[in-house]
């Protein structure tokens, strides 16, 4: 597409009120050139189709399927409706469900209370332009870049009971991945390791954007480093703080890959996402039952998404 129509459009754009008056089909609307209208239509339609096709349809289909006992075999017409049976089974007779919910919550708490603050702290340290800060930055960010398969493998080398680094060095016999009382913490360390780097980078970018004159002013007023951070820098970084919070919540809800790599989300490492996959994907094909689990997860996610959107929109109104 040439630049020409866009330039024309720029010239042709009337004051905003022109398009909003009624009888818009009239002469004034044509001020938008044909190309403009095609572009605008496409810009609305394509994302709309993508969102509908890739997000809303699957989501609605999941909710609908959760009321059936479909096993992935046979035409749609043969799908049998079983009502809330899947939900009843999930809650009452499916032993991994309760641990999964607990583990998801634990995951959220661990990332929120431990990993995120450490990431923020490291970002503040790196922002001080220490010697070799580039090196630290790279080292800390590396886990985010590595593929999960590789991360799973690295930690397997560290945690293996008989051949692992940890037991090898300290001579212990702890079954890091197998003991259900221990493995969730071992995995949380691995997850936190990655999360810290991610948060650090996000926060560092934000810190670089803080106006240095604010700090100078604080220093001139005799404020200490700590109180400058908490009373000046931290409040100024409110948008970044919200993003960090949201990222933390999202990361803990969609936590999946690490436990899947380790033991497919069993034996102490149950997560709702892993249970969905166990049931839906693969030979098991308990699609109805798995969809019920997915719907529960969707409902939980919606709570957080709603809170986030509500906050953001209220912010915009101000």
């Amino acid at each position: 597409m040439s630049d020409l129509p866009l330039i024309q459009a720029d010239r042709a754009v009337p004051p905003p009120a022109a398009t909003t008056t009624n009888g818009g089909r009239g002469r004034r609307l044509r001020l938008l050139s044909r190309t403009d209208r095609v572009v605008v239509t496409l810009m609305v339609l394509v994302p709309l189709l993508l969102v509908t096709g890739l997000v809303w349809l699957p989501a609605v289909a999941t909710v609908l399927l959760s009321g059936t006992n479909w096993d992935g075999i046979g035409p749609i017409s043969e799908i049998e409706w079983v009502g809330a049976k899947n939900y009843d089974d999930v809650v009452n007779i499916y032993p991994p469900f309760v641990p999964a919910v607990q583990n998801n919550l634990l995951w959220l708490a661990a990332l929120f209370v431990v990993a995120t603050p450490i990431g923020m702290f490291l970002a503040v340290l790196l922002d001080k332009e220490l010697r070799g800060s580039r090196f630290y930055q790279t080292a800390l960010y590396l886990p985010v870049v590595l593929s999960l398969a590789l991360i799973g493998f690295i930690w397997q080398l560290i945690y293996s009971r008989d051949q692992g680094l940890l037991n090898g060095v300290f001579g212990g016999e702890t079954d890091w991945y197998g003991d259900p009382n221990v493995n969730i913490w071992a995995v949380l360390v691995a997850a936190g390791w990655r999360h810290v780097g991610y948060i650090m980078l996000l926060y560092l970018a934000g810190l670089k954007g803080v106006d240095p004159s604010l700090r100078e002013a604080a220093a001139v007023d005799g404020s200490s480093e700590t109180s400058t951070f908490f009373r000046v820098v931290f409040p100024v970084m409110r948008p970044i703080n919200i993003i960090v919070l949201v990222v933390t919540v999202i990361e803990s809800l969609r936590a999946f890959d690490l436990v899947w790599v380790i033991n497919k989300g069993r034996n102490g490492l149950e997560l709702i996402s892993a249970l969905v996959t166990q049931n839906v994907v693969g030979e098991a094909s308990r699609i109805g039952f798995g969809s019920a689990l997915a719907t529960i997860m969707l409902a939980v996610s919606l709570v957080f998404i709603t809170i986030y959107l509500w906050t953001v929109m209220r912010e915009d109104k101000r």
């Binding site: 699957p58 075999i73 032993p95 197998g178 003991d179």
Partner: protein
């Protein structure tokens, strides 16, 4: 869920679907379910259109799950043999072993290859009953060299055959001859012998029984063999088919017996892979290991020659010790092959002595199902394994092949791991299994 055949495959399997190209978000939203819904509906609809039965087709397609270099090579050689003998070319479509298994539902409902690799067992019968596999009774009329046990394992619920066995491997208790000679251990004949032997090994500083269940399936082998020894083959199969109650005293007895043996098992099994357990046997830290013949992959050279096995000892003298797990791999035909004639010709060849001979010559790690094959090239271990299976009165296929795959993977794996974690609450565990079984089997 299959057993990884090599370290490489095991590692490849560590790659989660999210990394292997599946969009994670759509996965979590359950979109894969919806995708499967749309996909299979459409495919099932148009699958009917190509029901031609060409008379003398010049090629036939084969869907193969033999994705490792060695077995893949063997398949290619067997197909070459078929081309030489019949003049029909085989197009081999090889798919990664695990992917093949996970996609089998969609695969069979879409446009499957004329002939495809699969396993004997419940799942085979299930596909046959759903009309997703072709009747092979005619082919079986032309086959010989198969024992009744193999024929039984190839038969669907309607009494017709749907499967041609190619190879198999038995599950048994493996040990190192040198260790046993040095310490003067003797092969146990009964459960009491096994307990005594285990106690002696403990005294000698060995783990009596190597054990690993991180991946969930190896413990199924222990359950199977105990159930076969305590309650017999028929009860085991009925239990797997959902016809018997898990809360019955018979099943309780299996878990009670297992709980009694657990102290002899290598501790902390839930964090260990079978490869690591096999290595503990190889390194002479463990005395014995109940696993499939593929345990030999962790041994090489002189160590492999030092490997020997015995079948799990008798528990109840009225039941005996003649049944065992010996999963059979083989071939099935699509419900509507492009050329039924060519597909049947291929299957007849795959079940023949010639095809078995090619396999024996090229692959030392499996046993061929056709007893007419020239097994002179077998290693001592292979010969003994073939004898063991040959003398078996009944052959089970392993828990995850003998029952519904959803029940095996979403109920039995967590349940067995729970039992290993906490062997005390057996009745609570079995009540939970029974409740889930009722829900799954009646749906």
């Amino acid at each position: 869920m299959s057993r990884p055949r090599s370290q490489a495959e095991y590692l490849a399997r560590l790659v989660p679907p999210s990394v292997a190209g599946l969009n994670r978000r759509s996965l979590l939203a359950g979109a894969s379910g919806a995708g499967a819904l749309l996909g299979t509906g459409l495919l099932a609809g148009c699958g009917d259109s190509d029901s031609g039965s060409g008379g003398d087709a010049k090629n036939v397609s084969l869907g193969s799950n033999q994705s490792d270099p060695k077995p893949k090579d063997v398949v290619a050689k067997v197909m070459d043999g078929f081309k030489t003998s019949s003049g029909v070319t085989v197009d081999i479509n090889t798919v990664d072993h695990n992917t093949f298994q996970e996609n089998i539902n969609n695969y069979l409902q879409g446009k499957p290859d004329d002939v495809f690799t699969w396993f004997a067992g419940y799942r085979m019968r299930f596909f046959a009953a759903k009309g997703l596999a072709g009747d092979l009774s005619d082919v079986w009329g032309k086959l010989d060299g198969y024992s009744d046990a193999f024929k039984k394992a190839s038969t669907g619920d309607d009494g017709k055959q749907y499967f041609v066995p190619a190879s198999y491997y038995p599950w048994a208790v493996f040990y190192r001859k040198s260790v046993w000679q040095q310490r003067g251990y003797e092969v146990p004949k009964t459960l009491d012998d096994l307990n005594t032997l285990g106690a002696q090994m403990k005294k000698d500083g060995l783990n009596p029984i190597a054990f690993a269940d991180k991946d969930g399936w190896p413990a199924m082998g222990t359950f199977d063999i105990l159930n076969l020894r305590i309650n017999g083959y028929q009860f085991h199969i009925d239990l797997m088919a959902g016809k018997e109650a898990w809360t019955s005293d018979k099943v309780k007895k299996v878990f009670d017996t297992w709980a009694g043996l657990l102290p002899l098992h290598q501790p902390d099994s839930l964090g260990r892979t079978w490869q690591e357990a096999a290595q503990s046997l190889q390194q002479k830290k463990s005395g014995m290991y109940l696993l499939g013949l593929f345990v030999g992959q962790q041994f090489s050279g002189a160590d492999l020659e030092d490997l020997d096995f015995f079948t799990f000892p008798e528990v109840d003298s009225t039941i005996g010790a003649k049944a065992l797990d010996a999963p059979i791999d083989g071939y099935m035909m699509a419900r509507k092959p492009k050329s039924k004639d060519a597909a049947q010709k291929l299957l007849t060849y795959l079940g023949s002595k010639e095809a078995a001979d090619i396999t024996v010559k090229n692959d030392p790690s499996t046993l061929v199902a056709n007893s007419g094959a020239d097994t002179g090239a077998y290693t001592a271990l292979q010969k003994k394994a073939a004898e063991l299976v040959g003398s078996a009165t009944e052959i089970a296929q392993f828990l995850d092949r003998d029952t519904r795959p959803d029940f095996a993977s979403t109920v039995m794996i967590p349940a067995l791991q729970q039992f290993i974690k906490d062997p005390k609450d057996i009745s609570g565990l079995l009540t939970s299994v029974e409740n889930q079984k009722k829900s799954i089997f009646t749906s």
